[in-house]
C-alpha cells in the first residue's frame, strides 16, 4: 500500500466511523436488510449501489434515524445510535427531492440547522457565508427555492446539509434530477467539496457510472444483501459473483466446467465442438465444477484472421454493430448461436470500419482477461 494512498479499510488498526453489525430490517413480512455487517471509515466517499428495492435507501434512512432496526447495532464513532432520534444525530442528509423549505430564502434554508443548534448570530452569519461561497451561491442568497434553477437548488440542498459540519453526510440520489451534462460537472464538484470539508460521504445511487466516478469504495447490494464491497476498479475488474459482474458494466458470461491444469490455471470446457478456454484464477475449483467466465467486451480483440499464438480464439460472424461514437461494440455470433461482445475504441477520426455485418471474424483474449466465477 502506497503511503499517500487513502485506504483505511486495508489497515487493521483503523477505527471505522460507522459500523453496521448484523443489521436486519423487516417491514412486516418483507426483509429489506438481511443481516448486514459493514464498516465505513472517516473521510470515505462510500457508495451504496443497487437496483431499486435492493435496500440501499433503507440503509441510509437507518443511518439518518428515520427507520428503526429490527435486529443488530449501528455504531457511529463508537456509539450505538439505535435509539438516538434523527434530530440528535451528528448526521445530516441531502434528500433526493432536495426538500428545500419553500417559504424560506436560500440564506434562511442554509441557516436553518444552525439556528436550531443555537449558534451565536455572528458565527452563524460567517458559517452561512462560507457555505454560500463553497457552493457558489452568493448571488442567490436572498432568492426563494422556486426562483432558482434545478442545479442551484441541488447546491442549496448540499450547502444546507453541510452547514452543521456533520460527521457524516448522507446523499440520497443527489444528482438524479439533473440532466447528464450537469450531472457530470456536479460529480466532480461533489468530490471536490468532499475533499475540502473532509466530511465522510455516504451516497445512495442506482447509477453505476456515478458510483464509480465519485466513490472511494462501492457496496453493490441486491435484495437486502451486500454482494461486494470494494474499490471501483476491483468491483469492475474483480467481481466476486456473477451478479456483480453482470450488474456493473457490460460483460460476456460464458458457462462451462473447470479442469485444473496446474497452479492457478484452468481449462474451461464450454462447448462440445470447440476447444476448451484457458483462464487463470486463484479460485480453488475442483475438476468438473461448473463455473462462469466473465470477460469485459473491451478485453476481447476482434480480427479478420486467427491471431498467432492466441490462448483463446473463437470464430464467428458479425451479427450487429453498436456505434457509440467513442466506441463500437460488435455482437459476434458463434456457430452454435452464442453471442459474444467485443469492443474497440474508435481512436482515429477518418477510418473505414474494418468489419461489417455478416463478416467472418476471430475473437481472442488472454488467459487473464476473464474472471472465473463460481456458479
Amino acid at each position: 500500500m502506497a503511503a499517500n494512498e487513502f485506504a483505511p479499510w486495508e489497515d487493521p488498526q483503523a477505527k471505522p466511523l460507522i459500523r453496521f453489525r448484523n443489521v436486519t430490517k423487516r417491514f412486516g413480512e418483507f426483509t429489506a436488510i438481511d443481516n448486514i455487517t459493514l464498516d465505513i471509515y472517516a473521510q470515505e466517499f462510500f457508495a451504496l449501489l443497487g437496483p431499486s428495492g435492493c435496500g440501499k435507501t433503507t440503509m441510509m434512512r437507518m443511518l439518518a434515524g428515520f427507520e428503526n432496526l429490527t435486529e443488530g447495532v449501528i455504531e457511529l464513532d463508537g456509539v450505538d445510535v439505535g435509539n438516538v432520534a434523527p434530530n440528535k444525530r451528528a448526521v445530516n442528509m441531502m434528500f433526493q427531492s432536495y426538500a428545500l423549505f419553500p417559504h424560506l430564502t436560500v440564506w434562511e434554508n442554509i441557516a436553518f440547522g444552525l439556528r436550531r443548534a443555537k449558534m451565536p448570530a455572528a458565527d452563524l452569519t460567517n458559517r452561512v457565508e462560507e457555505m454560500l461561497k463553497l457552493t457558489r451561491l452568493e448571488r442567490f442568497s436572498s432568492r426563494k427555492p422556486h426562483q432558482i434553477s434545478g442545479g442551484q437548488r441541488q447546491r442549496v440542498a448540499l450547502a444546507r446539509s453541510l452547514a452543521k459540519a456533520p460527521k457524516l453526510l448522507l446523499l440520497d440520489e443527489p444528482l438524479g434530477a439533473l440532466d447528464k451534462k450537469l450531472r457530470q460537472e456536479t460529480q466532480f464538484e461533489l468530490m471536490d467539496i468532499q475533499e475540502k470539508t473532509g466530511t465522510t460521504f455516504v451516497i445512495v445511487t442506482h447509477d453505476q457510472e456515478e458510483a464509480m466516478t465519485v466513490a472511494s469504495r462501492v457496496a453493490v447490494m441486491d435484495e437486502g444483501n451486500l454482494m461486494q464491497v470494494a474499490t471501483p476498479d476491483r468491483i469492475y475488474e474483480n467481481p466476486n459473483s456473477v451478479y456483480v459482474a453482470d450488474f456493473i458494466g457490460d460483460v460476456n458470461l460464458i458457462k462451462g466446467t473447470a479442469k485444473s491444469i496446474g497452479e492457478g490455471q484452468y481449462q474451461i470446457n464450454w462447448m462440445e465442438s470447440l476447444p476448451p478456454l484457458n483462464a487463470k484464477s486463484s479460485l480453488p475449483l475442483s475438476d468438473g465444477q461448473s463455473c462462469h467466465l466473465a470477460i469485459r467486451p473491451e478485453k476481447v480483440a476482434i480480427n479478420a484472421e486467427k491471431p498467432e499464438g492466441a490462448v483463446n480464439a473463437v470464430q464467428g460472424k458479425v451479427l450487429d454493430i453498436a456505434y457509440l461514437g467513442n466506441l463500437s461494440t460488435y455482437y459476434v455470433q458463434l456457430a452454435d448461436g452464442t453471442i459474444i461482445k467485443a469492443q474497440t475504441a474508435n481512436t482515429r477520426r477518418i477510418s473505414r470500419r474494418s468489419f461489417t455485418w455478416e463478416d467472418p471474424v476471430w475473437l481472442s483474449w488472454t488467459a487473464t482477461a476473464g474472471v472465473l466465477l463460481e456458479s
Partner: protein, 271 residues
C-alpha cells in the same frame, strides 16, 4: 375560443338561476316603499333604519363573535385531526376515527342540533353564546379537516424529515416547516368554518338560548312576521361583504400564482 350558442345558452341559464333572486333582493333594498313588492322609487332610508335597529345590530355582533371563536377552534382541532389521519400511518382505530370525523358532513343538521341540545341539557349547561360556539365548532371542524388533509396528502414528507434531520423536534418541525407551508389550506379551512357558522340557522336554533340570538335566527323570525325592506338592506350588505371577500381572495391567489410562474421561468432561463 368562440362560444357555441349551446354554451351561451347554458351559461345564461346558469347565471340567471344563481343570481336572479339576489339581484331582485338588492334592487328592492333600495325601494322607497315599505311594501316589498311595490316599487316606489330609489331610497337608502332602510339602510339608515337598519343602523338604528338595536336588535339586528346585537344579533350581528353575536353572530360575528360566534363565527370567529368557533371557526378558530374548529381550525385548530380540524388541522390536528387531519395531521394525525394523514401522518400517523396505521394505528388502532384509524378507520373508525376517520369515519367519525367525516360523519357530520353527511349527518342531517337537525340531528346534530338535537343531539347537541340533549347533551347540553344533560350536563346542565346554560344555553347561550358558549353552547352555540361549541356546536359550531363540532360541525365545522370536519370541513376544516377535509380541506387541510387534502393539502397534507400532496405535502412532500421529506420536508419534515429534513427539518428533523437539521435538529428540529417534531413539534418545531410542525411549527417551522409544516404549518407555514400548509397555511393557505388552514386559512381557507378557517374561512369555510367562518362562513358555515355565519349562515347556520338549524343548529344555532337548537343550541341557543334567549341571551344569544344570531343573525340568521333573527332574520328568520322577522321574516315570519312579513318581509321588511330592512331585511333586504341587511342581506344586501351581507352579499356585498361576501362578494368583496371572494373577489379579493381570488385576486390575491391569482397574482401569487402568476408571480411564482414568472419567477420559475426566469430561474430556468437564467441557467
Amino acid at each position: 375560443m368562440r362560444l357555441s350558442w349551446f354554451n351561451v345558452v347554458s351559461l345564461t341559464f346558469g347565471f340567471v338561476f344563481l343570481y336572479l333572486p339576489m339581484i331582485i333582493l338588492v334592487i328592492y333594498s333600495f325601494n322607497k316603499s315599505k311594501l316589498v313588492t311595490v316599487w316606489a322609487g330609489f331610497s337608502t332610508k332602510w339602510y339608515g333604519e337598519l343602523l338604528q335597529n338595536e336588535a339586528f345590530l346585537n344579533a350581528a355582533w353575536v353572530t360575528l363573535k360566534v363565527a370567529v371563536i368557533s371557526s378558530t377552534f374548529a381550525t385548530i382541532l380540524g388541522t390536528m385531526a387531519a395531521y394525525v389521519l394523514v401522518r400517523s400511518g396505521r394505528f388502532f382505530g384509524r378507520t373508525l376515527f376517520s369515519g367519525m370525523i367525516y360523519a357530520p358532513l353527511v349527518m342531517p343538521e337537525v340531528i346534530t342540533g338535537l343531539s347537541l341540545l340533549l347533551l347540553f341539557i344533560g350536563i346542565g349547561m346554560d344555553r347561550g353564546v358558549m353552547t352555540v360556539v361549541l356546536a359550531h365548532t363540532t360541525f365545522s371542524m370536519c370541513y376544516v379537516s377535509v380541506v387541510v388533509s387534502s393539502r397534507l396528502f400532496t405535502f412532500d414528507q421529506s420536508l419534515e424529515e429534513a427539518a428533523l434531520d437539521l435538529g428540529c423536534s417534531p413539534a418545531q418541525a410542525f411549527r417551522l416547516v409544516t404549518l407555514p407551508i400548509i397555511a393557505p389550506a388552514v386559512i381557507s379551512g378557517w374561512l369555510l368554518a367562518f362562513t358555515l357558522s355565519l349562515d347556520d340557522l338549524v343548529i344555532a336554533t337548537f343550541t341557543t338560548g334567549p341571551s344569544a340570538t344570531t343573525l340568521p335566527i333573527k332574520i328568520y323570525s322577522a321574516v315570519r312576521l312579513g318581509v321588511s325592506p330592512e331585511i333586504n338592506a341587511l342581506s344586501t350588505l351581507m352579499i356585498a361583504v361576501v362578494t368583496i371577500g371572494v373577489i379579493l381572495a381570488s385576486l390575491v391567489s391569482k397574482r401569487n400564482v402568476a408571480n411564482k410562474r414568472r419567477e420559475e421561468l426566469a430561474a430556468v432561463r437564467a441557467e
